[in-house]
């Protein structure tokens, strides 16, 4: 049972929790304690040292918006942002409840009355903005993967195609999202015209910018992975005379999966970095816009709130990476899990 738990923890990348399980199981306490110290204790000490240096260093810097906030001030702002979020939620709930009551009363008086449902249009809170950012990055990332994986597989199977596309990839790969953004903005404005738009233009612009920047790692990794599949595996397919489709789906893609995942992981990391910059400029209501608005706002709280955003961005980036690693160890053959 506890072996299974350890297995789960290792698959999920939560190695630090393994000594705790082992301790509970009554294994050699001394050995597990020293393990726990290296895996949990040392990182904890590093964090504490960082907080100390930050708090001492920050108090020395006087900006036009007051003293640079230390850890305590930032924590205070984080709590503030949460409270604002709660207050905004309550307002929204109250709004919807009033609307419902109003409409019900209207219907009671006259069953044929025309009733209107309106959305609450309050200011998006910090947490709403996290949600928007995640949605945007996933849209851009999924779009990029849907293009990059098939094109990568095709390039891996055909050296000629790879040779043809390679210069384009090399040229577009290093382009910064900030350079793409004006072009994407203009193209989206010109092409995406709708009376009742499903998505906001700023959302599309940010997502497409993420796509353009996160295409490349997946594409290159997929192409290299498919091109370097073990020759024997390909020969197995030739001897069996697998048709083209089976050869791709039963041999090429599973064989390339570990490296494709590495590419996806890099792509998602790039996408998340790019997104913040894109949102700042495209004014997509996400974390990037939050940072930009606070910067423009320039109140004495602003720097603290921006730092909350910085830490949040870091933590979410870390969680996204963790998600990809876990998916990889679950799905690809290098570590068959659950057997």
């Amino acid at each position: 049972m506890s072996n299974k738990l350890i297995n789960y923890l290792e698959t999920a990348g939560l190695n630090w929790a393994v000594p705790v399980v082992r301790l509970c199981r009554g294994e050699d306490a001394h050995e597990q304690a020293s393990e726990l110290f290296t895996k949990v204790g040392l990182p904890l000490i590093a964090v504490l040292v960082f907080l100390l240096v930050w708090s001492v260093g920050a108090s020395q810097v006087k900006t036009s918006l007051g003293v640079l906030p230390g850890p305590a001030a930032v924590w205070h702002q984080a709590v503030n942002l949460y409270d604002e979020h709660q207050a905004q939620r309550e307002k929204a709930d109250a709004f919807y409840q009033r609307q419902e009551e109003r409409n019900a009363a209207k219907l009671e008086r006259d069953p044929d009355a025309e009733i209107k449902w309106r959305d609450y249009t309050g200011k998006p809170t910090f947490f709403d903005q996290i949600g928007t950012s995640l949605l945007t990055v996933f849209t851009g990332f999924v779009l990029a993967s849907l293009i990059a994986i098939p094109v990568g597989v095709a390039c891996g199977l055909s050296p000629k195609l790879y040779g043809a596309i390679s210069p384009l990839v090399q040229i577009f790969k290093p382009v910064s999202p900030l350079a793409w953004l004006p072009i994407v903005t203009m193209v989206v404005s010109a092409v995406y015209i709708s009376d009742d738009p499903l998505f906001q233009k700023s959302f599309i612009t940010s997502a497409v910018t993420v796509t353009l920047c996160s295409l490349w790692p997946t594409l290159i990794n997929t192409a290299v992975a498919v091109a370097s599949i073990d020759k024997d595996w390909i020969n197995v397919g030739r001897v069996i005379r697998l048709n083209w489709r089976t050869q791709v789906f039963k041999i090429a893609i599973p064989a390339a999966l570990p490296m494709i995942f590495t590419g996806l992981r890099l792509s998602l990391g790039v996408g998340w970095m790019v997104l913040i910059a894109a949102e700042m400029l495209a004014q997509n209501p996400g974390l990037g816009k939050f940072v930009w608005d606070e910067f423009q706002n320039g109140s004495s709280d602003s720097l603290g709130r921006i730092m909350v955003a910085v830490i949040t961005i870091g933590i979410i980036g870390f969680l996204l990476d963790w998600l990809m690693v876990t998916l990889q160890s679950l799905l690809s053959h290098q570590k068959p899990a659950g057997h």
Binding site: D232, W233, N235, V236, R238, V239, R241, S332, P336, H339
Partner: protein, 288 residues
């Protein structure tokens, strides 16, 4: 110069057909005639095999033995259709070989099992494709299980390759090849990567299966004992470049063969010393 001299010297050891005459004789089951192959290199084409001719009868177990680099695997790959001969070619059962196919199933040196499929699924991938429209689902399942049983792997058929030993993987590789019901089974140093004890076990299994099914088999090997123990015929390759067949030895020891009894058998040791003297006296590798 020495290679050519050697070839002439041993010409009389070869069956008359291999000298390239007498096309009117009854056709062999598998007929390689005048096979040469060039590999492109930066310094121009490199002739790996030169004028290899071989005739193999149905149900015969043939080993190809030689020093490393003498092109023995290349011969096998040409029969498999994985390489194309530059000159000459192979005819199996009256049809020219020009692409790979399941009637010439290959057992690869390093098993080549797909690690993301279980043993059963590895065999299934072959069976599903080869017997498409000829067997129904139930018959396919029974056929897969039958073949895994044949190599004594039915107990672990739902395990992944990473979970079983090297010998077991090679057994599954053999089951996969047998499941294609090949006319010729091609084995490329099938036991080369295994330890001596496991190798002996697998050799016994192969003899057992061979007694059962009476397949036509071509096996590439560098192990003299293995060649003498398993084969009806041993094809000894002269050294490359431009390697060719040096000598063919008929091993007419009675079957079933028992490795313990044969160890002190005079004729077994005679065959063994013939192969050894070919490899280590006449084809001694030049000091590198």
């Amino acid at each position: 110069m020495s290679v050519i001299a050697m070839r002439k010297e041993h010409l009389h050891d070869l069956p008359a057909e291999t000298a390239g005459e007498a096309p009117s004789r009854p056709r062999a089951f598998l007929d390689l005639s005048g096979v040469s192959i060039d590999f492109p290199t930066r310094k121009g084409p490199f002739r790996a095999l030169n004028n290899v001719s071989l005739k193999i009868a149905k149900g015969e177990f043939v080993s190809i033995i030689g020093h490393s680099g003498c092109g023995k695997s290349t011969v096998l790959n040409i029969v498999a259709g994985l390489y194309q001969a530059t000159e000459g070619g192979a005819i199996l059962n009256g049809r020219e070989v020009n692409q790979p196919g399941p009637e010439r199933a290959v057992v690869f040196q390093n098993h080549a099992l797909l690690p993301w499929l279980t043993c059963y699924q590895n065999v299934e991938l072959a069976v599903k494709t080869v017997f498409k429209g000829r067997k129904n689902k139930r018959e396919m399942r029974e056929w897969i299980e039958h073949n895994l049983k044949l190599v004594h792997m039915d107990h672990a058929m739902h395990k992944y390759p990473a979970e079983i030993s090297g010998g077991m993987k090679q057994r599954v590789g053999i089951a996969r090849a047998l499941a294609m019901e090949p006319s010729v089974l091609l084995m490329d140093e099938p036991f080369g990567a295994l330890d001596a004890l496991t190798r002996a076990h697998l050799q016994d299994s192969v003899m057992e299966i061979q007694a059962d099914l009476n397949n036509t088999v071509i096996m590439v090997t560098h192990d003299v004992d293995e060649a003498v123990l398993l084969s009806d015929k041993i094809v000894m390759m002269a050294n490359g470049p431009a390697a060719t067949v040096g000598e063919v030895l008929e091993v007419d020891l009675a079957r079933p063969r028992d490795r313990l009894a044969l160890a002190s058998d005079e004729r077994y040791n005679h065959f063994r010393s013939q192969v050894l003297s070919f490899l280590y006296e006449r084809q001694r590798r030049p000091v590198e």
